[in-house]
Subunit: 256 residues, 4 copies
């Protein structure tokens, strides 16, 4: 396990260019802020990719050379090419880790892996968010105590249209009266998926140390170290089968 974990941070990178408030918080884009704190880990190597690059920055060998992909998108989910989504999905199912942040709940890649609407309640207002830690011994929650707070955040509320998580790590409390499953994991194929709620673009959420700790832990957790291609093999028997002339002679048709 001595080779580094290769992390790619994908950012939509549109709000930062259009909204001066967002640009002030993330002058180089959210993806660079995230890559910046992750890059301090000596066992990670980082690259970034954005929507407006060719193939959204995910062409060539990028996915082949990515162990864990971090995804932030919001206003332009529809512009992500289906072909790229399909390649990312295949790569996850083969063993890549995927960390989906905040409004990425509606990203094509997250919806494709979940199979559900991924809908939720939401409100941009003056809510405080308090994230309660339900699994204090899970690798992703190390360094976080019983809870941590984000002074201002967009509210996301239940019901959240996701499949039953394999592990539910965080549940959020919001000032305005809602709750939300704000940290959850799923195995999908040979890959591991972590959804983490915080990160509205108009707040400095990714500059907060607890948020950085969770995302850093999640990268390490999501790294499986395997790549297993999909096959649906016709398999010879491992034990003797009865002979059956009739069966042997019947036509095989169609395909699996």
């Amino acid at each position: 396990m001595s080779s580094p974990i290769r992390v790619t941070v994908w950012g939509e990178y549109r709000h930062e260019k259009k909204n001066p408030k967002v640009a002030e918080i993330y002058p180089d884009g959210m993806h660079n802020t995230i890559a910046g704190f992750l890059g301090k880990q000596t066992d990670f190597t980082l690259r970034t990719a954005t929507l407006d690059q060719p193939e959204h920055g995910l062409g060539g060998n990028v996915l082949d050379e990515t162990d864990v992909l971090v995804w932030w998108g919001h206003m332009a989910h529809g512009e992500v090419a289906d072909e790229v989504v399909a390649r990312v999905k295949t790569r996850v199912l083969e063993g890549m880790g995927l960390i989906v942040l905040h409004s990425g709940h509606y990203a094509k890649i997250f919806k494709a892996l979940m199979g559900t609407t991924c809908s939720l309640k939401w409100r941009e207002s003056t809510d405080k968010e308090r994230l309660w830690n339900l699994m204090p011994s899970h690798p992703i929650t190390q360094g976080i105590g019983d809870y941590f707070e984000i002074p201002q955040e967009e509210m996301y509320g239940e019901p959240f249209g996701i499949p039953t998580p394999d592990e539910l790590l965080f549940v959020s409390w919001f000032t305005g009266g809602e709750v939300f499953r704000s940290g959850a994991t799923w195995y999908r194929g040979n890959g591991r998926v972590f959804y983490f709620r915080p990160g509205h673009e108009t707040y400095p959420t990714y500059h907060q140390s607890e948020v950085q700790t969770v995302i850093t832990n999640a990268v390490r957790w999501a790294h499986t170290g395997v790549r297993i291609a999909d096959v649906c093999p016709n398999s010879p028997p491992l034990e003797p089968l009865p002979e059956d002339a009739e069966a042997a002679s019947r036509p095989t048709e169609g395909f699996k």
Copy 2:
């Protein structure tokens, strides 16, 4: 709960027309055999639909008037229109039950709801299948003892590329040395999904009483009685929020 459960049995209905062996077993098509035994339940009403009908038999009000959809397909998964798959998926997420049979593991609708490859090992030979009952008190397994056997069936083997089932009901043993998670459930949105492995077209599997019992039980289990449309609502607070002039004045952009 006195109104009947409205069941639609969808059959690809191709093997039956092409392969005399299949036609002999299912002269009116597998869908009619399945609808036949389900129709004996006085609390079910039945209809059928097939691939070669307009909109694959699922146009008009059919999905609106379906509580539980049973699906068998194999050699023509690719011919099912994406638009129809999307409507079925939406209907499941709103609360319809879906029972996916055998080679339907590769149906577009099943893969879309699971988010995974749904791949497996397979072999057409002379295997016997023995299905072990892991949850003897589950509604779907009532009337089945510890296990039941199918004298000849196609082998499906692990690893099966599915997400962790919410409930694992059956695991199969095959003569040739494999095992398979052959009965499993998932909530998807407000709908319930049951995958049931048996039913290769060249064997009289759907004429077997235990198989009929399981599918009948599954229809009743999959009936939620609800229909809840997807929304992603902007929600006003339920508790007082602090005033924050700066927050109130900032531009809202993008969309949820």
Copy 3:
């Protein structure tokens, strides 16, 4: 399914006799209030049992004649005889339903079935509780909308020391800033267990209609209709095994 569901409501029945405030809310004891609203269902038959009865009211044929047991205890968990707990546990594992209410999280029977501490945070103060409905199509949540509120309740907060629920139905928001998994289900053996948080003795919680709806739904859900005794059988093979003289001659010792 035409025979009625036999429900036994077990109440500790101590607070009501000691604390005038509790007696005012539940003059006949909480168990009778709960049995009262459940008894309005024409498909239920009700009986009650309390701590200070011989064998805590659970001797003779009571457990044999109970399909679903509802449990409320608090200040005298330690007085429940281990022998009675063992019989209740056995009966649950055979197929009885068990609904554990509020401070029953620390009942011996609940801890024995969960295998964990079942600890939590708590506070008696002026909190409001709002229970969010995470599974709007689950049988237990029918008749409940997105959420419901209890004007005053004791606060219970995460982390709650339970195993991963099979199904997480409700998460509570409390005024003071906490969240809690307040409705959850588990299969245990052939029985079904539902934990439901509300019901502090000094508030009229069990007089509230939404609470009554949830408990009523839960009784119906928890009724499995089966009773399967525990065995650990030495099983003859179902398929031919190779002969092996050495194996056949070796001594069998110990026990399973």
Copy 4:
């Protein structure tokens, strides 16, 4: 993470002293064979403990200084003192890893953590066992391909009386026609539990490389690195609560 993982291997160590066949396979006891192969890992430190030692070898600081405990017992489950079982359980819930092997399914500690019967079918005969790998990217299955075989093993069959595993890693196929969930994980409190089926005392199972690989992987997976004591704290509010003179004046009674 540079400090070693402290592993204690607990062996009942009775069959080895009574049955010459077992003694021939495990001349120093199964616990020493297991400790022997685990001790080759440079990041593990090993000790052993056995039933007939004072406090079954688990007194003093042993549990305090154990990160992962491996457990093999069979013919003398009833001789393990309840007090020791309680201490082991507390330690698991605080964060210790526990690996339960084979007939340990009926160990008091496993039953106490599962809350169920843990019963199963069994047969000592000439079965071959083939363990299928359901999660090829899980840390515990690394180095194992699609499956591995044990030439002769005791048969364990479904239904296995366990709660739904958090993760199901292996399912076994047996010559005689049965299947079994032979590798499964559960979080219990802050600890991680792995049950692994193979290891009947009359076969050289723990000398087999794949079995050693799985147990070695499991030790690393079960190591949480945390220790969190159980508390059930009365918690002050984190947000302002309404004043309510009546509530403030009411008596608090009982205990949590």
